[in-house]
Symmetry: C2
Subunit: 452 residues, 2 copies
């Protein structure tokens, strides 16, 4: 345990906090936000449960999987705990439709929640215990993310994966009741397994980094429970995570105001399965379509006046795949005006090839306006009959200033269950999530998340 | 597949080479060196097969493991292929007694060989096919290591793990007969899983990074076989491995003279289970002891005149654990003069506590002499009766200039099998490795490496 004089003991301080934290210490608003995060988790895990990367991974992993201990969200199969953690985390993230911690761009829930749901099939876990461990896992990954942001992501690290493994380890370790030493080892075991490159985004390979975060974090804690030791300073040590994978990292972000400031309170949820900068475009075009006075054939041109980031990220008049369509403003405008919807079906490969979509995409152009905030948009519509119209969206749905309502999260879950996981009944699951604080056996959640 | 004009296509070039490589193209000396590497692998895997980190990991992983498809070196249990790859790689590396590629300090054989041995229990694999895939796996990891050395390790990356996953993916992909596109995806899937920090060395956590290299590389190739895709430029892309995890990486190291220069020809093997800089010290002290004219009670002082690196790395008169003793010159001198041996037993926790060892450690001191090469040593012995003696070792056993003979590698295997894996019979295994080019079914190797 040698260390330089006066050096911070970041890892130990974090481990001590995690160990000492009591459920009663969590503010009510935080507990509520945790439930919202879990609702959103199940929604997006339903959506991803039959995505091709998830199907392919499941097909292979079942060849090596152990006893059918745990459920896979949205699917009839069961698998071993570690594989279930991998798959449930990967499927919740595969469409990038999951939650976002704005400061770090971490999608926090999948890595922290997936191992806990798996563990609830191994030992009796109460609803509050699961909620508590989840909050601490999300806190751990987001704080470590804060410490290395923005340099870490900018360099090319897929931060949901690289920091997620620590969240998974902390959450799992807390649920296992590890003491501070055990949690420190869990973080150390996680540090040996932190991986994930931005280069893999847009490819199935992305899901390996993300799924591993949950699986390997879970194993990190279970190994620590058995005395599998790690370094004393996995985060702040001279060859530890912050030094090696951070860029000018700030360890005080990890330990500052622990138990007072809670990162999960800043969590946000996406209304649409595409790049967040498109949210306001979609809001506006859906509003236009809903009025019924601009049928596609009447459209001459649609001009989007937006923050320069909109053009930089989404100026893609020609896209070839559903995945690419998720970052095309032209495609977003077209499907909204045509179908009055912006769900997974509208961002599929089939939608991209629809000739009506192709025709409408060509009417769209983007103009920079640095005065417009990144959450807003000004849409100028010109009809073939010469009439013009302007529609302004100040703040998109799902942004920090205009969060999705509880009922909207419920609807997201219902819609994605229907789309992605036939046979799953959303209502009892929604009820169980809201009632998590009174749930005696949290394994109920996963049991309600599979086809009946 | 977008890329900048004129940018190198490092990953694709490597994948094409791996795909096109034929067994017949391998020089005879290279095939022989590959067999030596495998002999050394089995030796050190026997040694590590009951080490505490391996025991602990096995105990946990069996809870989640699938069908008993593959053998674990030195042990009676069987486990699924992925878990077997993890354990066989981890146990071969756990004592740092495995091989060393001098330029990168990668221990190349464990990550590349462990998945191939596992795969030989899944499909019929000939000896030459296994040998060929192993050589290509080792080539891949060492070349990627060359491209990021020395900055990568210096920054704090455990290079055996971070580069090993690529070697495991390449080796597995070759054995599966993937084409260039499949091998490219295998490398891409590996890139999402490259991890391992130097901070974890000296702790059980180290074995997670190393074991994962084999397991995750294997899965990377098996997933690629099923069409699980990765980025077009996992190594050289703007957010790929070289840019994110390298420090001023040189991609030409990966593709230069492919098929002409072979990295495995530079592989070295340790005669003793400790830091390589101690090899000459041990050689000299064993020679002194063998002569029988300097019994421990006669020793007044032992002065080691060596390259400054010797003092920097091994000036540790007081050590508390066997692991620490592996980098203590004082301990090495003491056990050699006392026991005439420098094996695992002499670097155990028990040996460290032996009062005779403690007494003798105090007689040792180290003096810098920059004129002495790092592979050499001058030992000055002073007896209590006033007589003095000087012994010079020019090149330690196991260094590049004085490689272990084939028979010494065989002896290492025999010794470590006897020490670490009771019930395992070394002779048929040694014979099978030497006869690998004529072996019809390479699964014979693992079958011969378990207790009979």
């Amino acid at each position: 345990m040698s260390r330089e004089a006066g050096a911070p003991e970041t890892s130990l301080e974090l481990a001590r906090f995690l160990s000492a934290s009591r459920y009663e210490d969590l503010p009510a608003a935080l507990r509520h936000e945790a439930k919202r995060s879990l609702l959103n988790f199940f929604a997006v895990a339903f959506a991803g449960s039959r995505e091709i990367a998830v199907e392919t991974a499941l097909g292979l992993l079942q060849e090596f999987a152990g006893p059918p201990q745990a459920a896979i969200v949205g699917r009839p199969e069961r698998t071993d705990l570690a594989t279930a953690a991998f798959l449930n985390c990967a499927s919740a993230n595969v469409y990038d439709f999951d939650d976002t911690h704005p400061r770090t761009v971490i999608h926090p829930t999948a890595p922290a929640a997936a191992p806990l749901l798996a563990l609830s099939h191994r030992q009796r876990v109460s609803g509050p215990a699961l909620l508590h461990a989840f909050v601490l896992g999300a806190e751990t990954e987001c704080r470590i993310g804060n410490a290395v942001s923005p340099g870490h992501y900018r360099r090319g690290w897929h931060i949901t994966a690289t920091c997620g493994v620590f969240g998974a380890a902390a959450a799992s370790g807390k649920l296992l009741g590890l003491d501070a030493q055990g949690l420190l080892w869990a973080l150390g075991n996680a540090s040996a397994q932190s991986s994930g490159l931005v280069e893999t985004l847009g490819f199935m390979a992305k899901s390996l980094g993300v799924g591993n975060a949950a699986r390997n974090g879970l194993l990190s804690a279970l190994l620590a429970e058995r005395g599998f030791d790690g370094p004393a300073r996995p985060l702040e040590g001279p060859r530890g995570f912050l030094q090696v994978m951070g860029e000018a990292a700030d360890p005080s972000e990890i330990t500052g105001a622990l138990g007072e400031r809670w990162e999960l309170l800043d969590n946000t949820y996406k209304p649409y399965p595409c790049g967040v900068v498109l949210n306001s475009v979609i809001d506006g075009c859906l509003a236009l379509q809903a009025r019924g006075d601009c049928p596609p054939e009447a459209v001459e041109s649609v001009t989007l006046h937006g923050h320069p980031l909109l053009r930089q990220r989404t100026d893609r008049p020609d896209v070839a795949t559903g995945r690419e369509a998720q970052v095309s403003a032209h495609h977003a405008v077209a499907v909204c005006l045509l179908f009055g919807a912006a769900g997974l079906a509208q961002f599929s490969d089939a939608a991209v090839r629809d000739p009506r979509v192709l025709a409408l995409r060509r009417t769209v152009s983007i103009v920079d306006d640095a005065e417009i905030p990144v959450e807003g948009i000004r849409i100028e519509l010109k009809r073939r009959d010469g009439t013009r119209e302007t529609l302004v969206v100040e703040q998109a749905r799902g942004s920090a200033g205009r969060p999705l309502a509880d009922s909207e999260l419920e609807d997201k879950l219902r819609r994605l269950a229907a789309d992605g996981a036939p046979g799953c009944r959303p209502e009892p699951l929604i009820e169980a999530v809201w009632g998590l604080e009174d749930l005696a056996d949290a394994s109920e959640l996963l049991r309600l998340a599979v086809p009946s």
